[in-house]
Amino acid sequence: MNEPASPGRDRLDAELERIWGNPRGWRALSVVNHSVLGLRFMGTALVFFLIGGILAMLMRTQLAMPDQRLLDAEFYNQAFTMHGTVMMFLFAVPMLEGLAVYLIPKMIGARDLVFPRLSAFGYWCYLFGGLILISSLFLGLAPNTGWFMYTPLSSTVHTPGSNSDFWLLGVTFIEISAVSTAIELVVSILRSRTAGMSLDRMPLFAWYILGMSLMIVAGFPPLILGSILLELERAAGLPFFDVARGGDPVLWQHLFWLFGHPEVYIIFLPAAGIVSTLIPVFAQRPIVGYRWVVLSIITTGFLSFSLWVHHMFTIGIPHLAQAFFSAASMLVAIPTAIQVFAWLATLWTGKPVLRLPMLWLIGFLVVFVAGGLTGVMLALVPFNWQVHDTHFVVAHMHYVLVGGMFFPLVAGLYYWLPHVSGRMPSEQLGRWGFWLTFIGFNLTFLIMHWTGLLGMPRRVYTYEAGLGWDLPNLVSSIGGFVMAIGIATVLLDIALHFRFGRVALRNPWHADSLEWATGTPPRAYNFASQPDCTTRHPLWEHPDLPDGIAEGKHWLANAGHGRRETLGTDPVSGSVREIMRLPGNSWLPLVIALGLAVMFIALLARSYPIAALAALASVALMLRWSWVNGLHPALYDESGAFPAGALPLHPHTFDGPGLWGMGVTLLANASLFLSLLFGWFYLWTVAPLWQAPATSPLPATTLLIAALPLTAATLWIRRIVTRLRNGTAAHLQVQLWGIAVLGVAYIAVLVQVLIAAPLSPTRTAHDAVIAVFLGYLLLHAALACVLAALQALRVRRGYVGHHAPYETVIVEKWWSYTLLTFWLTYGCVVLFPAGWGGS
């Protein structure tokens, strides 16, 4: 164990505070600490939740009586579109990611997430994207075509204003945040758990967040691609969804729901993680069926990607295909049911204590199980046809999402409040809040099932009297306001507890997991020393562990080097591999996100030169970000960094967190690329007026010539990595320059192809998709060249070499991916049409 002599507790705290402490005042904007950012995520999500809630109240007021004229049709359209968009994109996902950002390092015994600047960047992208989206409400230009933005309604013909652009650009900006945070969480969970925390000892919450994050990585890119394509269609006239020019609006539905259905589980999984964490604590026993629950998490993660077409049962898909998706939709209920049985069995065999968080968990079980049952009903094709686009679907969705996410979330907030504030909430006020919310919710949405069965379609801004919808709508509206009072009571309780709450004892709920081994509230570094984890329930089996941690009796209790450090461990066994040096506070995440915000606003205003400048500035700043890495003096202190016999610092290894980060990033990238391939083949086989020439408009031979320098450069960098592994780094700088030059040659040929090819991207969807393929290849090639050149410069500075090889390994992955996507594109765009023939 890398365990120096234990310094005094106060001295250790002072040293760590000097290194990890968060600045105040305006410098607080540069903070990258996970606790601060997690709380910022959650606080911002709460504000957006209130905005979404106000929109819901306006809608319920409008629908309370027939023939109301409180809202006109246009504002009602904007209200329901923004309510759904805000709740899904600005509240649910960021709130849960924020909770994960706050909790995960503490639960896995780490000092911070592994890419702290990425956490900050994710937060700022979320904030600015949310502000852009919300600003549309005040400008009267809010999106108005429903939160799933179906084409052609959202296309220029039917929505000529900027309404759809606000959605497409704002949501894409927010998705950058979601994906970057997810990448950060995946790598942190896999590579920075404390010593000995093997996979089978990992807290269930971490399993759930791992599942959620991987689902975000795979599930968000289809929508990012769809949004890019639709914005290209709206802004530049590329007709991906225009039937007359060979596109197909149903492609949008596929891309949206490829994201949209997994999104439900992306929201549910972390909420279920809260349930699986809290129930054992309040039942005072370990969860029943830990392995079964992990099995359910993994299964849900995969199966939920096979359901998307059940949102499209009414659009004319063959019966057999509908049967596939119907069966898959019913199957996905099984892993969820396994978890419900595990929770019930834990309560049954434990000694449950009915504290405030438990009340919300019981509410969750009732509401969510009911929502799950109507989900199985909707999986049946004939029933689905009957209630499609009625209030029944709205009611089902709210049972699943409010039951499956909001109730566990409030349980979790109450449970971890003492961790954040060091004070306990009021049981009495909290119970009032629960019952009002629970009764109000069921009054609103249980009744809404009947409204739907009576035939009331969703998204109508008013209705005539005498259709049988008057009374149920009135009851739903009253219930909505009761629920709002309940939520206001909860928020009041939370606000008051910071001032009047009873001071919390250490580990006030007698929990088993490591987050309660930190102080309450925690220090910026979480743990003065990182503990050995020998069990799934560290605080139940070692109640005195927090004292040992604070006294520096465990790992990394030496802070004399003045740098931020956390353990890097094996993803399976949790054995310690290296020490990770983490970057400190930085303005770059804020400034880059601001640059991107300028770019998105310029795109909204169709000021393309400004957008291009902002994009270039952001990229330049990102390169600066990547410069302060590895052996950069800001992170590396040669004198004490690599003492004999000690653990290596991560830049000296071949398997640092950056490599894992690149791997997960490429997974997201591959998901986007596969979605593009799907779009290509989908249009080719299904689009009614698809127009393709007999042979590809791209010159096959010239493209093969382009492949030569790209293939050579990739093989070259792979050879460099092999030699680095063998301890040889001769002429590394020159070689990297050579690789960059080969990349430039590849780009030159590709640009030549783009200019010379007879493409008319605004005339046919066929050519538009090819143009996107070429743009994708060019972007990847350009970045590959810049990364290789940057590596060469870093070799010159001594930041990279045989003593610090890990960055080259990362860059090599990007080159390999660039090569792979080139050949796949070549196969699909050049070879496939030759075999299939034109139409």
């Binding site: 093997s198 996979l199 089978d200 000892r201 392995r291 079964w292 992990v294 099995l295 993994i298 299964t299 993660g301 995969f302 199966l303 990607f305 096979s306 077409v309 063959p318 019966h319 057999l320 295909a321 049967a323 596939f324 069966a327 898959a328 199957l331 892993p335 993803p571 399976v572 066994s573 949790g574 083949f681 086989t685 299904v686």
Partner: protein, 115 residues
């Protein structure tokens, strides 16, 4: 071949299932676009046969992997607990994948492919 306790086993069964699912839905769509069988034939078409064969082969491979992981879990009781955890969990994943393949694939036996 991956060892039963390799961490990738935790996902492999369901990755194979995902590929099968894409092939099933994609194969059906392409088959119906290229050479739609006569609707009067019902489910007794070349396309149903092809998809059923694909389903059976995939399920068989998944069951074989399930058996492999399960036997490894039972015989190697002296493996490190985290390795044994992976092996047992992987057996479960293969079981889920095999069952999912069969359940989702069953309609191929009874429904005409294209209408």
């Amino acid at each position: 071949m991956l060892a039963p306790s390799h961490p990738l086993q935790l996902a492999l069964g369901l990755i194979v299932w995902s590929v099968w699912f894409v092939a099933l839905y994609g194969g059906l769509s392409i088959g119906c676009a290229l050479a739609p069988p006569d609707a009067d034939l019902g489910a007794r078409t070349w396309l149903n046969g092809l998809l059923a064969a694909l389903t059976a082969m995939t399920a068989a491979w998944l069951v074989w992997q399930l058996r492999r992981c399960w036997r490894a879990a039972r015989s190697r009781t002296d493996d490190a607990p985290n390795r044994r955890f992976i092996t047992i969990l992987s057996a479960g994943i293969y079981a889920v994948a095999a069952v999912s393949t069969l359940v989702i694939g069953i309609p191929v036996l009874g429904l005409p492919p294209c209408p």
